[in-house]
């Protein structure tokens, strides 16, 4: 009898430990990233670091502003392409597509989410870079190329979360509208889509988070020059790329500066996450792993 109770007690406590493991890990991650990154803020100054235009480790120049702009530009441009396409596709899946076609689309989107990002990067390098070079000129390594690859990579996230949001609009709304004589398109435009907007916004933010955090696919096609781009055909360097490109040989202050880059990245992601949570969309992203 009491052995039963003891077992129950131990199990519950054990499970509790697994549950708070995530929190502990997050704290350790934050601690270590800040521990290694903080010295750069002290040595170089927070403002110099964030707003500095020059990144030249050999000259002890550690300004990441061009990369913040780079990350934002790539992300913005890819959202510009991905958002319309994915919202259309989500509405199509939730409301219009016949069952048979949905049966093709769903696994398609799951597979798109499952393709490794290096494979996307490789595809971009081999196919898109030459394509952009031939069509638009320049080297082909550009903000545009990176954005196209990111567009494809964030499609599944935005589509599946938006579709969930559209599907969770209560049936009565739709029926009421149709009963009033509205056409299907009017119903979607005036009733279903507006009701799903918070979910769709969450979907977009999640896609944005994925785009900001993507590393290797971007490195392979973006050109990685630390400059503010003048046109979408200019090469740019993202924050993530900066870390991946230089961590292999960085030492001393340079090493700290890369962790500093990670801090900036981490803060950007946290802001997005908090905004996403604000829209209070409780549905989980089942494919592609987690929230962002």
């Amino acid at each position: 009898m009491s052995s039963n109770k003891l077992e129950e007690y131990l199990v519950e406590k054990g499970l509790f430990l697994t549950a708070i493991f995530s929190i502990i890990i997050i704290l350790i991650i934050i601690a270590f990233i800040f521990r290694e990154g903080f010295p750069i803020f002290q040595e170089y100054g927070v403002l110099n670091f964030i707003f500095g235009m020059n990144w030249a480790p050999s000259d002890e120049q550690y300004g990441v502003f061009t990369m913040i702009v780079g990350s934002l530009c790539i992300t913005g441009l890819s959202l510009l392409m991905a958002v319309p396409l994915s919202i259309l596709c989500a509405i199509f899946m939730a409301e219009i597509a016949p069952k048979t076609f949905r049966k093709i689309l769903k696994p398609t989107i799951e597979t798109l989410a499952g393709i490794p990002s290096v494979v996307y990067g490789f595809f971009g390098l081999i196919v898109l870079v030459p394509l952009v070079r031939v069509q638009f000129g320049g080297t082909g390594f550009s903000m545009l190329t990176a954005s196209i690859i990111l567009t494809i990579m964030i499609l599944p996230t935005i589509i599946s979360v938006s579709e969930d949001a559209l599907r969770s609009v209560p049936h009565e709304y739709k029926e009421a509208s149709l009963a009033l004589g509205a056409t299907q398109w009017q119903t979607i435009k005036n009733v279903i889509f507006p009701a799903a907007i918070p979910g769709v916004i969450t979907a977009i933010i999640l896609g944005m988070g994925r785009a900001v955090g993507e590393t290797l696919a971007v490195i392979m096609v973006a050109g990685n020059v630390t400059q503010i781009p003048n046109s979408i055909l200019d090469p740019v360097r993202a924050l993530t790329s900066n870390i991946a490109l230089e961590m292999g040989y960085a030492t001393g202050v340079h090493y700290n500066a890369l962790f500093g880059t990670a801090i900036v990245l981490f803060i950007m992601i946290m802001v997005l996450l908090v905004i996403a949570n604000y829209f209070h969309y409780k549905k989980k992203v089942v494919i592609g792993g987690g929230y962002l």
Binding site: E12, L15, I33, T111, P116, V118, L125, T240, K284, G290
Partner: protein, 269 residues
């Protein structure tokens, strides 16, 4: 308007077909038994990818063994034991945050914590641990949803027969939730097996065949990255990419079939 919607759906399918088709058409010719079983020669310019396959298996195994119990345990706790309180909200937010951290940041963390601070050195084991952290939130979230979806009547039936709460969970609830939990674990591990950025500074990128999990190694995605960006061999890069794509497709199809079969057997259809 109809056409625009149809176009969006068709474009999505075409994108997938083009990418997968291109990789497979260019990559399949490079794949043969020797490519799969031989060690690379001249940094991968020729030879095969056997050590990379083994490395990938090692890191994925470590990630699975570490992340699956933690993720499922946390899901069980939240679904069965915890009410809705502050700690639970914090745990959920923790999982979301973990899922949102960019892979390269995990890479830095792995380097500074596992490799340097804990003194593990460059090893597949350390890489597996980093990947476990990345897979954890997916496993947790999907498992929680599927545990919550188990009907309450199963739990009551078991309790009424005099089973304790824990007996009820592991004899009735978990078996009923297995399809969902498996899907979650596979999704998490698929993410782990595809990851390169998070482990590039952790696994040591060695080309030789790893003997134990504590050796350095170079999983497939990292090998592809190196081959492609250093321009070592496009042919082998295609081969490696094709192997990864096939691997992911096989994993997806096999789990889906197994899960479906188990579900059918369980529900007596």
């Amino acid at each position: 308007m109809q056409t625009v919607f149809w176009a969006s759906g068709i474009i999505t399918v075409i994108i997938l077909l083009v990418i997968i088709g291109y990789i497979l058409i260019k990559g399949l010719p490079a794949i043969n038994l020797e490519f799969l079983l031989a060690e690379p020669i001249d940094s991968g310019e020729s030879g095969g990818i056997a050590p990379m396959i083994v490395s990938s298996i090692y890191v994925t195994l470590v990630a699975g063994i570490v992340a699956a119990p933690l993720g499922v345990g946390a899901a069980v706790y939240l679904a069965e034991y915890a009410g809705e309180n502050k700690v639970v909200k914090l745990i959920r937010f923790g999982a979301e945050t973990l899922a949102s951290i960019p892979s390269i940041v995990f890479g830095l963390f792995g380097l500074s914590f596992f490799v340097i601070f804990l003194g593990m050195g460059w090893s597949l084991f350390a890489g597996g641990l980093v990947l476990a952290l990345m897979a954890l939130p997916t496993i947790f979230q999907v498992a929680e949803v599927s545990i919550e979806a188990v009907p309450r009547s199963y739990r009551e039936g078991s309790l009424a027969l005099g089973a304790t709460k824990w007996e009820t969970i592991y004899r009735v609830v978990l078996p009923a939730a297995i399809p969902g939990i498996t899907t979650g674990v596979i999704l998490g591990l698929a993410r782990a097996i595809s990851e390169a950025a998070a482990i590039m500074f952790v696994v040591g990128s060695a080309l030789s065949m790893p003997i134990s999990i504590f050796d350095p190694g170079r999983p497939l995605p990292l090998h592809l990255y190196v081959l492609a960006t250093e321009g070592i061999s496009m042919e082998n890069a295609f081969g490696t990419a094709a192997v990864m794509v096939i691997l992911i497709l096989i994993i997806t199809v096999v789990t889906n079939t197994l899960v479906e079969r188990y579900q059918k057997k369980m529900m007596g259809r």
